[in-house]
């Protein structure tokens, strides 16, 4: 409740400041003034966020005070009559016209409300977001400053911490009020709405009627990639907003100074949002220059110089920090991008799939045809926008209006450019094309007004909206797991803690990460966590970002252990690809393997033991099998060099089993498996009363088990052999049904105990 109030206050003050400042702008419609509000929101937020972030004061209360102060000053200067004049134009009956448009608008409203709901009750599951977008947002919030946090090094993701962070500064408006990332999935939702508004304004400036311009805006909002990104804290929709808003304000031959300022803010903020933005701004500026060359009272050169000066000043104020910082830290302003590096080209993709991609609109993933946050331009792009851009380009050409022709061809030009540039991963293509797509939809509005068969065109537009919404929403967040969704809803309505988002289930593909997330989130206090070769950093930080992440790149195992101690690391998180480190824990007593059934896989736990000095001839295990008929218990020796399946037919009855073994024994693994032939709606419980090592000397050594360790660990975890402590070996309980050895998505978390004599507690709070 407090978080919600703080969220409303912070965003309310910034919105008030933006509204008051927008009232001073000379614009020609309510839509343009509303667009000015959105751009000025970004301007006010960014200047404040950057100033506080660079000086190390990026906390909630200083930010709120700054916004309140700016809002008061702006409100004092405001022309409130201009704000009041917007009211009639914002009446719903004036915004949507006709039954088809009302129906499409209603469908979009319902779809976006549902998308927002899914985003709230589920956790982020977009790979890029987990790799670096969210870790950067979290690091800024945790540190109260713009920092370069340590990220895992898989795919060189650690270098991505240097990416410009304008979007991450803006995300603080969604994060700092709550002290967590509970709403962080929604950061792009207002950007999508603002992009639709910018599309509307751009269409109107192309001479499109209100009704047709509204279709332009709705077609953008219905894009499957936009729908999916609105539940994903990436930056592509934000870039689309900044580019389209700047373009819309510049697309007039008699550009007012205030609109030049607005365009400057939008295009000045864009380079700080994504490095690739420069590829849109340069051709966009060329189109504007060519358009201005055709008319206007002032010479085009003079207007162009004024615009360039304004955008340069805005860029210096809003985006130069990131480039200057990277130059200062790394010697390259555009680090980690290396322009001299060879960019591999896949010509079969470029020549064969490239031209077909808008039509096929497919992914590289099974089942090939589905929408997600990277794929899904929708039927409206290939069927409506592309023909419309050709029509508009042809009209511009006939009228000798080169600026219009260039503008209309920009979406196709950028499509071709990015097909070549990202030919190795074409499934990500539309993320890069997205910023110029609104131009295509503005052209659709133009075609509606100029081509015959308007009813056919309206039917196509409405049908496209429906087709895209129906197919896009089922791939947002947890939609495909209704049980998880209803669980999330129930938990959300009960108001459990931080909304308990980390116990939710989402996309099956990252099941393992979700478990890691949940495990670290339930650890009490803050912890130092080391990561290596780790692709997803965000799960390490906890719901409220309290954990610190360290990236340790040791040359040797000894160096690794030394570094762990030096950094006071108490947990290590690794992907399966990593060379496993060692971990230590001690204890004694009876152990219970407690498998809590999840929709997809099993659970397992692990503990360490002491290796006896005498040779081993076998082991004896006393256990009580699980009650479930489809549970299996497997013992593996020396990393499953030998595998023995224990009887489970007498469930609930204590059993004793002797396993023969000759030779060196350095690991025992007990795996509790769930055979998913039938449904299982209860917990699996395997009780291990004792494990004894049978020695050649006819004596036995009881393997000490640690109940506290078992009780604490509730997801697959392994404790590995310690090279510098050969007297210990491990007993690990593993889940083989879900995790295959080659699965690079696997992630392990190891608790590190620096002082063995301290016992198994380990992982102390700071």
């Amino acid at each position: 409740m407090v978080g919600t109030a703080q969220f409303v206050a912070l965003n309310g003050f910034t919105a008030l400041a933006a509204l008051a400042l927008a009232s001073r702008c000379r614009v020609s419609s309510a839509a343009e003034r509303l667009l000015a509000v959105t751009v000025l929101f970004v301007g006010v937020a960014l200047v404040s966020g950057l100033a506080l972030g660079v000086t190390g004061h990026l906390r909630f209360w200083p930010l709120l005070a700054t916004q309140a102060f700016v809002a008061m000053v702006a409100a004092w200067m405001a022309r409130w009559e201009a704000v009041a004049a917007m009211k009639p134009a914002l009446h719903p009956s004036r915004i949507v016209v006709g039954a088809a448009q009302r129906g499409a608008a209603l469908l979009l409203v319902v779809a976006y409300l549902f998308v927002a709901f899914i985003a709230i009750v589920s956790e982020p599951d977009a790979g890029d977001a987990l790799m670096y977008h969210l870790p950067l947002v979290a690091a800024y919030a945790r540190d109260g400053a713009i920092t370069v946090p340590a990220l895992g090094a898989f795919w060189n993701t650690d270098l991505w911490a240097y990416y410009p962070g304008t979007a991450y500064v803006l995300s603080q408006w969604w994060v700092l009020p709550f002290g967590s990332g509970v709403l962080v999935d929604l950061v792009q939702l207002p950007a999508a709405a603002a992009t639709a508004l910018a599309t509307f304004v751009l269409a109107r400036r192309l001479g499109v009627s209100r009704e047709a311009a509204m279709w332009s805006a709705m077609l953008f909002l219905a894009m499957p990639i936009v729908i999916n990104q609105c539940a994903t804290p990436l930056v592509d929709v934000t870039v689309a907003f900044l580019f389209t808003a700047g373009l819309a304000f510049l697309w007039t031959v008699e550009v007012e100074t205030s609109q030049l300022v607005l365009a400057g803010i939008a295009w000045g903020a864009a380079p700080g949002t994504k490095l690739a933005t420069l590829f849109y701004l340069l051709p966009g500026a060329l189109c504007v220059g060519l358009y201005w060359a055709r008319g206007g009272d002032q010479p085009a050169t003079r207007r162009l110089l004024r615009a360039l000066a304004m955008i340069t000043v805005a860029t210096l104020a809003l985006s130069s920090y990131w480039y200057a910082r990277n130059y200062w830290l790394t010697g390259s302003p555009i680090f980690p991008v290396n322009l001299r590096g060879a960019n591999p080209k896949v010509w079969s993709n470029i020549l064969f799939y490239g031209p077909l991609l808008p039509l096929l609109d497919f992914t590289m993933y099974d089942p090939m045809f589905f929408y997600n946050y990277e794929t899904g331009a929708g039927v409206q792009f290939v069927a409506l926008a592309i023909p419309a851009t050709f029509a508009l380009a042809a009209r511009g050409w006939r009228r000798r209006h080169l600026g219009v022709t260039c503008l209309a061809l920009l979406p196709l030009g950028m499509l071709a450019f990015w097909v070549v540039h990202v030919s190795t991963e074409l499934h990500t293509l539309f993320r890069y094309v997205l910023p110029v797509v609104p131009i295509g939809f503005a052209a659709v509005g133009w075609l509606m007004d100029h081509a015959p068969r308007r009813r056919v065109q309206v039917a196509l537009a409405a049908g496209s909206v429906a087709f895209s919404v129906v197919n896009a929403v089922p791939h947002v967040g947890t939609f495909i797991l209704p049980a998880s969704l209803s669980t999330g809803l129930a938990s959300w309505m009960l108001g459990t803690g931080r909304l308990g988002r980390f116990d939710r289930m989402g996309d099956l593909a990252i099941q393992d990460y979700r478990r890691a997330w949940a495990y670290l989130d339930q650890l009490a206090g803050s912890h130092h966590i080391a990561a290596s070769h780790l692709i997803f950093s965000y799960p390490m930080l906890g719901a409220d970002f309290r954990h610190d992440l360290h990236f340790l790149e040791a040359r040797s195992r000894e160096q690794w252990l030394t570094d762990l101690q030096a950094a006071n690391v108490d947990h290590v998180a690794l992907a399966a690809i990593a060379d496993a480190p060692d971990a230590v824990a001690f204890g004694a007593g009876e152990v219970q393997l407690h498998l809590r059934v999840r929709p997809t896989s099993n659970e397992s736990v692990g503990v360490m033991h002491v290796v006896p000095a005498s040779p081993v001839r076998g082991l004896r295990i006393r256990y009580t099998p699980p009650a479930s008929p489809n549970a299996r218990v497997v013992v593996g020796l020396n990393r499953f060099t030998r595998i023995v399946e224990l009887p489970t037919d007498l469930s609930g009855t204590p059993l004793e089993q002797v396993i023969e073994w000759r030779g060196e024994l350095h690991s025992i693994e007990v795996s509790l498996r769930f055979d998913r032939r039938t449904g299982l709606y209860d917990d699996l419980l395997l009780q291990v009363a004792s494990i004894e090592l049978l020695l050649d000397s006819d004596t036995t050594v009881r393997v000490p088990l640690d109940p506290a360790l078992w009780a604490r660990v509730s997801w697959p975890i392994e404790y590995y052999w310690m090279a510098d402590d050969p007297q210990h070996f491990r007993l690990a309980f593993r889940d083989h049904d879900y995790w295959s050895p080659a699965d690079s998505n696997e992630m392990h978390i190891y608790e590190v105990v620096h002082r063995p004599e301290a016992g198994a507690a380990g992982g102390g709070d700071r």
């Binding site: 400036r205 192309l206 001479g207 697309w251 007039t252 039509l359 096929l360 609109d361 089942p367 045809f369 589905f370 929408y371 039927v379 290939v382 069927a383 409506l384 592309i386 023909p387 419309a388 050709f390 029509a391 009209r395 009228r399 219009v404 075609l447 007004d449 100029h450 081509a451 015959p452 068969r453 056919v456 065109q457 196509l460 049908g463 496209s464 087709f467 129906v470 197919n471 089922p474 939609f479 495909i480 209704p482 049980a483 969704l485 209803s486």
Partner: protein, 49 residues
């Protein structure tokens, strides 16, 4: 930009119709899966199954 009232060829509209038809046919399997997922969600939320 001033309103340009000269009509554009209907061929662009028929091209849009054709492309829409092709796109929908290509993605018919996706539509079927999506509808099943919607049905599954409604079923789960209404009947808890």
């Amino acid at each position: 930009m001033k309103r340009d009232v000269q009509p554009v060829s209907a061929a662009f509209v028929w091209a849009a119709v054709l492309l829409t038809a092709v796109y929908v046919v290509v993605h018919m399997g996706m539509l079927q899966r999506s509808l099943m997922q919607w049905a599954g969600l409604v079923n789960a939320l209404l009947f808890g199954q």
